[in-house]
Symmetry: C2
Subunit: 465 residues, 2 copies
Amino acid sequence: MNYSKINNEDIVFLESLCGKDKVFTEDSINEDFSHDELSGINQYPEVLVEVSSTEEVSKIMKYAAKRNIPVTPRGQGTGLVGGSVAIHGGIMMNMSSMNKIIELDEENLTLTVESGVLLMKISKFVEEHDLFYPPDPGEKSATIGGNINTNAGGMRAVKYGVTRDYVRGLEVVLADGEVMEFGGKIVKNSSGYSLKDMIVGSEGTLAIVTKAVLRLLPLPQKTISLLIPYPDLAQAIETVPLIIKSKSIPTAIEFMEREVILVAEDFLGKAFPDSSAAAYLLLTFDGNSKEEIEQAYEKVAHICLDNGALDVFISNTRERNEAIWSARGAFLEAIKSSTSEMDECDVVVPRKFVADFIKDIKTLQDEFGVRIMNFGHAGDGNLHIYVLKDELTEEIWKQKLNAVFDKMYAKADKLGGLVSGEHGIGCAKKTFLQRSIGDSGIALLKRIKLSFDPANILNPGKVCQ
Amino acid sequence: MNYSKINNEDIVFLESLCGKDKVFTEDSINEDFSHDELSGINQYPEVLVEVSSTEEVSKIMKYAAKRNIPVTPRGQGTGLVGGSVAIHGGIMMNMSSMNKIIELDEENLTLTVESGVLLMKISKFVEEHDLFYPPDPGEKSATIGGNINTNAGGMRAVKYGVTRDYVRGLEVVLADGEVMEFGGKIVKNSSGYSLKDMIVGSEGTLAIVTKAVLRLLPLPQKTISLLIPYPDLAQAIETVPLIIKSKSIPTAIEFMEREVILVAEDFLGKAFPDSSAAAYLLLTFDGNSKEEIEQAYEKVAHICLDNGALDVFISNTRERNEAIWSARGAFLEAIKSSTSEMDECDVVVPRKFVADFIKDIKTLQDEFGVRIMNFGHAGDGNLHIYVLKDELTEEIWKQKLNAVFDKMYAKADKLGGLVSGEHGIGCAKKTFLQRSIGDSGIALLKRIKLSFDPANILNPGKVCQ
């Protein structure tokens, strides 16, 4: 791709628009902005600019379009697939300062925010108003813009769905700088193709999200968690389809193995409530009536005990729930800190095939002599599987990683699964997306990309390019 | 547009593919296929073919693409905006015979169906298995393919959302005849742009839906309805934002006026439980615990009584619920039977502005001397407003209709509303969509359309063309 290189005039333009203290080049760019949380893809932007308004974003895009400069929007950089790395250089637009909560509308049950607001700020703010923003990805310091761009799911997807289900409207800036609104404070919409839904999950390649109207629910008054030990992982996971079939749907169904718990205990310096068993299911139930929750969880507890569970630990205080779930939230960081480097597979499969998939992974660990750790959302079929480099040489590691990934993604495909449940494609998973949807699938995505961004300046090299 | 006309060779091809008894031309085409339920747009296709498999749909599209023949997919023709009328002639593909329920997967809580299955068949089938397909449009004899293509919403959107929220996967045939699957039996998906969501609501202009994987929920064990009379409509509707704000969210919140009830009583030959008041709210609550439902509805009943309601009638038997809701389901047909011709406005506005919008409509009735009836989904802001021709001449009627519509859509736009909540754009609402999203919005939709269908043979002349 034949993009223009950033020159002095470009810097002067950005400084005059956003302020000198908001524009960074060369050594003044913090190293953090050359990569994301995991992908191993490294590239500095030519210039980093901290934007503070939709108007600035629009003016920069107009300028970049005229000059043919690539632009990479960036939230907190917590992604795992290189989606927010400026692999073609150019301008990186840091959206983190666009972090205002604009309006809570209790009559429409909506929250309007700028895209740089952190997920943790949103959940705290709405809960103070006895309201609830259900999407619950593990990484609470991600921006809502990042969550929208990957259609993040998180733990509560079993009952509540994913980010897409809670985005009612978006304000975006298109590649040519035009500001548009898709959707709004409305509950239904059949007014032309759903551009809002095209942007959700598009990883910054179709438009830059500047504002979002989020849908809220009333905060459930009661929450209870069950930690359920099993003698082995297969038995734990095989219970999940039986739970779903029982029609008592939990808010979340996570699975974890002892080895991951031990790594997390080590990382946090805190003991998990129990780590004596080989594997665990972690379930949550929420609702407004104690009776309803009790009825549901007692039924599910019996199903688990009838299918090999060793015990059922009930956690019904806020403190105990937080202790368990904060450990769960630290798994990724903990595993990362236990090795020299790692990469992740984020496939999603129909939930009744999770056990089948996990069994396969175990054999890969032995077959390739590489450490593989995993945990994930058993209730929605979305797995997070980490392949660890440990002491392997770079060359051997890449070889093994590719071989292991090839087998994992092929297996997911065979089970009717897809490449990514919630982390997206970015740069790192493009090959696997191509294999999954084929040349004509990729060609269709490319045509859609060009219908939004004909010069391909918005986050180029990602998803389908 | 320069499409090929159907010739004898085309008929021979269709007959050899689908069978002679499945292909209709000229006088053998039933008059029903020249229009839909309401739009007043009339055009016969050159040939009507009843398809019975994805393979047939694919072969016809390949053929049509080569010959440059327009193709209009058609379900039960219950649309209101001309979306399923073959305005450019060509081939009409009747999908109604593709009506098999393929698989109920209780472990994944999904139902896989062909696109010609009727909505009423789906809800009956899953309820027999103690499961629930929440979308509940008034027209139960529509096909699920039609519901998907308009992203139909219905009465339960307040609590459960719309059709889009219950489509997990689609099998579609593209304009060039290629068969593709978007999504699947999976709960989360961040694997490239959401093509599934692009198809939902696209009114047959991007691809032909042949199969759908629908998401199911456990069937709520208890349902209760409240019929709440008010001295006038404004007071009734002004209560709705207060109900939402109270955080006791009903499953449905409908509003209706006495004049509509009287028309429905007349049409059905059955009395409504009460028709003494000028206006009513009709609410439903569902759940699994009696206590929870009671707590919610008692709170809401008090809010209503504190804000002008004359009484609260509780309906907690299946028979009484059905009597009320079947009357509600007949409103459209009843109004239609009370006049010579009518047209509809299906705007959606933020729910706190419904009262404001309805007040405006009342003034239009007097200002233009035309009968206007309305009812709708107060809980989700989606209104169905009918302008009635009665004894007006064709010329005067068209004049008044245009003038009234101009004012209605302008008002909705001013309130942050959009053109269609659930009936789509079709041919009839194109002007209003253009005014709402502007030239550059329409241009973007057109580019997306061409990225799916470069020769513009799929349901041409609809939505953005």
